[in-house]
């Protein structure tokens, strides 16, 4: 990692230190409410019905929520803030008038985003342990694949966001891409519950792979149709290809 990339990470960490209070609600309150509603509310109903073969419903949902939260955080941080840096506050232009180059900037943003997602997940996993949704060790092992899920979304979304002229497409993206992924990637039920013809479509969802991997790491049975290494390969490929595209997109947009 170049020294300029490290400095971008440091700068973002310093900015976050000043502004984290504003993001605390979306970072933690929403996931906790989801956990309470799904685990406490829906979970009781499901567990009372029995015969799901899932063990406790809360235990089934918890690792998936880690991956889904990572996706949400990563997508949030790779869209509006990127457009702001390029178009609204133009803070990226300020950074690029220093020895920092567009590629350093993109790498640094991805690096800081990874740290932030990981930090959020660790706090979330800790809360899950406190709420008896997961044991400590499975919670910690599920954090890593969940963080990778976040990064696999961050880089391609960042590449796309850096090419936008305004934020009109972003609202649709959240409504018609992110939300359906959240609902249909097996977060709240095994995808085997879906009609058979739909299931291969679910395999196209990066979140599905992240969830399967996180469940696997936490020792929770998911939808065992695909091997773990395939999930891992999909996430790594998305991250890698996305990073190349993001570097290209940043350079094209900011180096004109």
């Amino acid at each position: 990692m170049s020294s300029a990339t490290m400095r971008v990470i440091e700068a973002n960490a310093r900015m976050y230190r000043q502004t984290w209070r504003g993001s605390i609600v979306s970072s933690f309150a929403v996931p906790i409410f989801t956990l309470l509603a799904m685990g406490g509310g829906l979970g009781r109903l499901v567990d009372a019905g029995g015969q799901t073969g899932l063990g406790s419903y809360l235990g089934f949902v918890a690792p998936a929520l880690l991956a889904a939260t990572a996706m949400m955080t990563a997508v949030g941080e790779s869209t509006y803030p990127v457009l702001a840096g390029i178009k609204w506050t133009k803070s990226y232009h300020a950074a690029l008038a220093t020895p920092v180059a567009p590629a350093d900037l993109a790498n640094g943003l991805v690096g800081f985003l990874g740290i932030r997602v990981l930090f959020n997940l660790l706090v979330y996993a800790g809360l899950m342990v406190l709420m008896n949704a997961m044991d400590l060790i499975p919670a910690l092992t599920a954090v890593l694949p969940a963080a990778l899920t976040g990064l696999a979304f961050a880089t391609p979304v960042m590449a796309w966001a850096a090419s936008l002229d305004d934020d009109r497409a972003l609202a649709s993206f959240f409504r018609f891409v992110v939300m359906p992924l959240f609902l249909f990637s097996g977060t709240f039920y095994p995808v085997t519950q879906l009609p058979e013809w739909v299931q291969p479509l679910v395999w196209l969802s990066p979140l599905f792979h992240g969830i399967e991997l996180s469940r696997g790491a936490a020792g929770v049975a998911g939808s065992p149709a695909l091997p773990w290494w395939l999930h891992l390969a999909v996430l790594l490929a998305l991250f890698g290809v996305g990073l190349v595209l993001a570097l290209r997109s940043f350079t094209k947009r900011l180096w004109t």
């Binding site: 400095r7 803070s91 232009h93 950074a95 220093t98 920092v100 004109t256």
Partner: protein, 308 residues
């Protein structure tokens, strides 16, 4: 002779089919305040961005500190201070944090940045706002902070793009005063502006740009001497009468320049020219005798006024 800090030969910049900068040549020497004067869209900012090594050269030769921006961009930018046209401060952070983070982008040691911040805030007359957020600062304060930020790395060359655009007269004068001080301390300044008074006040030497080309070059005094007369008389006639009287002004002074709302008479002695106007029986509504400015030079070179 000392080596120039910036050398450009046949420098061009294209955006798609649009030729923003068209085959220009210039040199900037250490310690001078060098200006690019021209209307909006003349190619000044594009030229600045190429010097600042944040925009690739389309064709031609450009060296900054003897280095090629294409291969040594980061090394060049490490020695530059850039003050962009629009303030791109981080408005959610404090004055101090904006400077600190910027210093870190230059990889300056943290203690050095802290010391430097106090000096720069003193220079920018913002010491009492050190802990304030940027958002509520006035336009002039934000501008001074952006300039202070551009000086955090003690640059060898400071690039200021339209430094006083959008500021009220008082804020402008305060800013000019700060820039004079920088100049006195030996800084090399590159300034783009579409205000001729700013160019005259601040620049030792300047080039006049229009439609991507350099149409004139020299010190403000020299440009005025070469392309204009010492004095100018401005005549305003009642609405609708100007066209009828322009012919009758022919031969007064060295040149007659009719504009939509007034006629300019270029003469070395304004009083003599005015006397002749009255002798010919013409009665303008209003007359104004003044020194020639760069505005007149621009008008002469391009046939257009600077601020349209």
């Amino acid at each position: 002779m000392t080596e120039p800090l910036v050398v450009a030969n046949n420098l061009s910049k294209k955006f798609g089919d649009f030729q923003a900068v068209d085959d220009i040549d210039f040199e900037i020497a250490p310690g001078e305040a060098f200006g690019f004067l021209g209307p909006n869209g003349a190619g000044k900012t594009s030229t600045m961005k190429m010097i600042a090594s944040i925009s690739p050269v389309t064709s031609g030769h450009l060296r900054v500190f003897g280095l090629d921006p294409k291969t040594h961009g980061a090394a060049i930018r490490a020695r530059l201070g850039v003050v962009p046209q629009e303030d791109n401060l981080d408005t959610e952070l404090t004055v101090e944090e904006n400077l600190f983070i910027y210093g870190r982008y230059f990889d300056l040691p943290r203690q050095e940045i802290r010391d430097r911040i106090d000096q720069l805030l003193d220079f920018a007359q913002l010491s009492d706002r050190k802990k304030s957020k940027v958002d509520p600062l006035s336009g002039g304060m934000k501008r001074r902070l952006t300039i202070a930020r551009g000086l955090i790395n003690r640059p060898d060359l400071v690039i200021l793009d339209e430094p006083t655009t959008g500021l009220d007269p008082q804020a402008r004068h305060l800013l000019w005063d700060r820039l004079y001080r920088l100049k006195r301390e030996g800084a090399t300044l590159v300034i783009t502006t579409h205000y001729m008074d700013e160019a005259e006040q601040l620049c030792d030497r300047l080039v006049i740009m229009d439609k991507g080309k350099i149409v004139g070059a020299g010190s403000p005094q020299r440009l005025i001497q070469e392309h204009s007369t010492r004095e100018v008389v401005e005549l305003r006639f009642p609405a609708g009468e100007q066209d009828a009287v322009v012919d009758r002004l022919e031969g007064i002074g060295k040149r007659v320049e009719p504009l939509p709302d007034r006629v300019l008479l270029y003469a070395d002695e304004a009083d003599d020219a005015l006397e002749e106007v009255h002798r010919r029986g013409l009665a303008p509504e209003m007359t104004l005798a003044r020194r020639s400015t760069l505005e007149d030079v621009f008008l002469h070179l391009t046939g257009r006024t600077l601020v349209e």
